[in-house]
Symmetry: C2
Subunit: 191 residues, 2 copies
Amino acid sequence: MKALEDKIRAEGKILPGPVLKVSSFLNHQMDSDFIMELGRALAERFREDGATKILTIESSGIAIAVAAGAALHVPVLFAKKHRTSNVSGMLYQTLVHSYTHGTDYTVVVEREYLKADDRVLIIDDFLANGKAVEGLLDLASQAGAKVVGAGIVIEKGFQEGGEKLRADGLRVESLAIIDSMDENGIVFRES
Amino acid sequence: MKALEDKIRAEGKILPGPVLKVSSFLNHQMDSDFIMELGRALAERFREDGATKILTIESSGIAIAVAAGAALHVPVLFAKKHRTSNVSGMLYQTLVHSYTHGTDYTVVVEREYLKADDRVLIIDDFLANGKAVEGLLDLASQAGAKVVGAGIVIEKGFQEGGEKLRADGLRVESLAIIDSMDENGIVFRES
């Protein structure tokens, strides 16, 4: 998506890691109009897939998921970070590894909002190692729901998550895929 | 807002506390179309106030804030929960008390996104004791920004937050104010 690539080039900052900091418009400060545009673009990719529910993970996936949900007129369910791994039978839970923080954390959704007849579209702001998407796939699987695909705003194509998920048969659509980023700039994958 | 009161009556569950559980449409599962409608309704209340930025707090305020931001065409900044109180000079930080969890937590915003010339509209999903809004007021104050008001989806009018904030001179607009709720049902304040 050209407008997204332009915005990343104009406002993104590359930090050691490498980490792409897009806090000016995507995941701390959020450019509301642009978030809605990104949501519509993701929705367009899955327009024909009959999703009944969007599944995302708190916190930074929420805005983009609601924008996509509004475009598809389907509800959004976000997996909540849970302070303990000791949760009730009312919940589906899974463990997600965070490379950023070097820890595992538990996320949960209430069982009543994720059902076997749901067609789930996973939405998130970033895809890097794929651990968040894997966690969401696990939650959908526990509910017996079908996953129609994953829509991502920015994929770090130089990390293994996208390749692994696609090899496993998941349809992954990313609005921008970064093949490399360093002091010389950002190289986006040709769409 | 009649549609909101109807939705609360239809889907809300009253739990001990009393806690109003609206996880079916507002803060776990989110009814995307309705969230956008709530955002437009909040935006309408502050249409003439020249807000340059919406400030909210993660996680459950994010969706409604982006919906309001899209209606006003202004960016949203969300205060992030921070794992330690030892944060850098790049951040404004404040402590928020959570009655739900019985603890204090630190929230932060990056200084570069909140400036003295900003006119801040605070948006959140719930107002009860007012601690989250007070924290956001403190962040805005540290930046020297002017706060034009607070837009809330559901105010628990039987708790002290709204009254206290209004007594302090803050304009608080709530789409639904609950005066009481118990086994006999929910009584909304007349608007």
